[in-house]
């Protein structure tokens, strides 16, 4: 991942910085708010210890360019004499760029269009170019989402290098990546989300205590070994959950909560279809109707009834004919189907496919309520697990 320091001096620019880093798949090692009142030495020490490869400066018309220039000067002072000084990428008004350029005094830099002009596309492209080959996986996933034959496609992938998601709608695509995942990036996941967040997905008689779980994840990160299935599923769930939460918070992509088609790849394709779909539902907590594909196969048709649909009938049509589906509020149900199946809701929403598992009705409510106490949580997770074939 590209170690990135972000510098901004207003709320909107700070949001842009978070969004651009997420879309480029850069790892934010330092986020500086130029209004924080810190002095040059404190900022220089922060730059020095976090050692970014790129410093992204985003400014806004009419805001104080001097404060941003002061932070850039601290970055320069921190890298005095260094062979590998960070590259500064600056975007903003002409006045701000002039002030930043004066403060750079020799640091490598480049200016780009303000993200407000092109919705950040140019800056994301540039940051990905600075990442090099690492960024290819994210671009590949974007193409997968775009090549699907429908709108509102969410493609998700998790592997040793991290977790990625791309959402394609109306010919456009927005994607994001975090350096947390299964395998060697699992250590970064527990440092970001906390070991308790991973542990809550583990089911069994001997769920390890938090620090002992960290030992296992540390060994998984350091050695080329395969993780126990339960641990790998827990890591995949939590990694995707972190990414989807970050996308909802920082990208504000409309429609990402209601994908029509979900494509699961990477480690998800190594799981059984039921495991992969269950992990996706727990992590992404989608709404509406979706066809979920694991690898190249239709795995399930998923229905998440909205509150206003409670009590309204659902109908499924497959080779065995038409049936009404009943669902229990708070429960997860799986209805096997034969051949091609079509699900209709009362409001004439339709989802169709040839799912291996069948139709999954997820009426557990949103957001998922997962108890903190081990005993209650284990009971609930076992009940959910029992619903799957």
């Amino acid at each position: 991942m590209l170690p990135l320091a972000t510098v901004a001096g207003d709320e909107e620019s700070l949001r842009w910085c978070r969004s651009l880093a997420l879309r480029a798949g850069a790892s934010v090692v330092l986020a500086v708010d130029a209004r924080d009142g810190a002095g040059l030495a404190e900022r220089a020490a922060a730059f020095r210890s976090s050692d970014p490869r790129v410093v992204l400066v985003v400014g806004r018309e009419g805001h104080d360019a001097g404060a941003l220039a002061g932070v850039v000067e601290a970055a320069r002072v921190a890298s005095l004499g260094a062979d590998d000084a960070p590259r500064v990428v600056a975007a903003g008004s002409r006045e701000m760029l002039a002030a930043v350029h004066e403060a750079l005094a020799g640091l490598p830099w480049e200016r780009t269009a303000s993200p407000r002009e092109d919705d950040g596309v140019g800056l994301v492209r540039r940051l990905r170019a600075l990442r090099g080959q690492e960024a290819e996986a994210l671009e590949r996933l974007e193409r997968v989402a775009l090549d699907a034959d429908t709108d509102d496609v969410l493609a998700c992938e998790v592997d040793d290098d991290g977790v990625r998601a791309a959402f394609a709608s109306r010919g456009g695509v927005i994607s994001a990546e975090l350096g947390v995942g299964v395998g060697r990036s699992a250590d970064a996941l527990v440092r970001r989300a906390g070991p308790r967040a991973v542990r809550r997905w583990l089911v069994g008689d001997a769920v390890p205590e938090v620090t002992l779980l960290r030992d296992r994840i540390a060994n998984l990160s350091r050695f080329v070994v395969s993780a126990p299935r339960g641990l790998e599923l827990a890591l995949a769930r939590e990694a995707l959950r972190e990414l989807i939460a970050a996308m909802r918070r920082d990208l504000g992509t409309p429609g990402i909560e209601r994908p029509r088609v979900v494509l699961l790849r990477g480690a998800f394709a190594q799981f059984t279809p039921a495991e992969a779909v269950a992990a996706f539902l727990d992590a992404a907590e989608p709404h509406g109707l979706a066809r979920v594909q694991v690898g190249d196969f239709d795995a399930a048709l998923v229905i998440v009834p909205a509150n206003q649909d409670r009590g309204r009938p659902l109908r499924v049509v497959d080779e065995r004919g038409e049936r009404a589906l009943q669902h229990t509020v708070g429960a997860l149900g799986v209805i096997p189907t034969a051949g091609r199946a079509v699900v209709h809701t009362e409001r004439d929403d339709v989802v169709a496919g040839s799912p291996a598992i069948g139709v999954v009705v997820d009426a557990r409510g949103r957001p998922l309520a997962i108890p903190d106490r081990d005993g209650e949580r284990q009971t609930l997770l076992r009940r959910w697990a029992a619903a799957w074939p």
């Binding site: 404190e42 220089a44 205590e209 002992l212 296992r216 990160s221 050695f223």
Partner: protein, 303 residues
Amino acid sequence: MALNWSHGERVASLRLPFGASSVVAMDTLVRAGDIVARGTHYRATRRVDAAKALASSPETVRGLLRVRVGDTVREGAIVARSGQRFARAIVAAQDGRLVHVDAAGGVHLGTIRGEWTAQAPIDGVVQRADRDRVVIAGSAWTLAGLAAFGPSRAGVLSRAVAQPFDDLSPSGLDVAASGRIAFGAGRAGGEALTRAHAVGVAGVVCASISFRALVPIYGDDVSAFGSASWDDAPTILVTRAFGRAGFDPDIFARLAALEGERAAIDTATASLHVFAAPDASEPAEWRDIVLDDELSGERADGL
């Protein structure tokens, strides 16, 4: 993972924290543990618009300074002065250091939170020394480890346990172990590690450690990839795995044969350097590690 015990030329590169005030001279012969750089941790920095205060142009501010950048200033000391009969001056409001002079003629004065020192992790010759880093080249017997935590430290190599599968016992550590690098334990617990640090043990080399011990000492953010630091924290080199493991008997025997030699743990590269003659030991390779099915440590039958 194949990890080696071998002799050869080593290059240690120390990336210094911000605020270096003095560094060792080039081509100096240093021993592991020698201080090669000193610097300052700053609490806060104040910017004084010196060009305005001295009624001069930004370009001339440097020429009006009475102290050099990086120098200590006492409260009341004149930092810069201009004019003859009607003099203008900038006076330090409190003790600190002159951190930086910017292009706009601003003078940044920092107050001091503490001092840091950087120690040489290896015997050798200084090949590069500046505010960015100190590079030292020398020869040593080196044991490559898995992960290291804390600052690099030097001491005298000393066996910590009787057998390579024994745990490091807190009760066996007293001030007699001060200045030593204690090696050979299968596992070090949190109590043993903190006690070792308290009685002055320079560092611990063990086969394994659990996050149950690491988290309370190094914080929640501690990584499986190690964390070199400049703080006053225990120094530990983990050689095999997290959770539990045994020290490799062959490596244990080789280190035991060098007991009493000077040694150093380089936490930046997660390695132990022992400064002994090239013919003092024989190279060796770790046996491959086999983890148990749950990944909670080395398999018991692999010990």
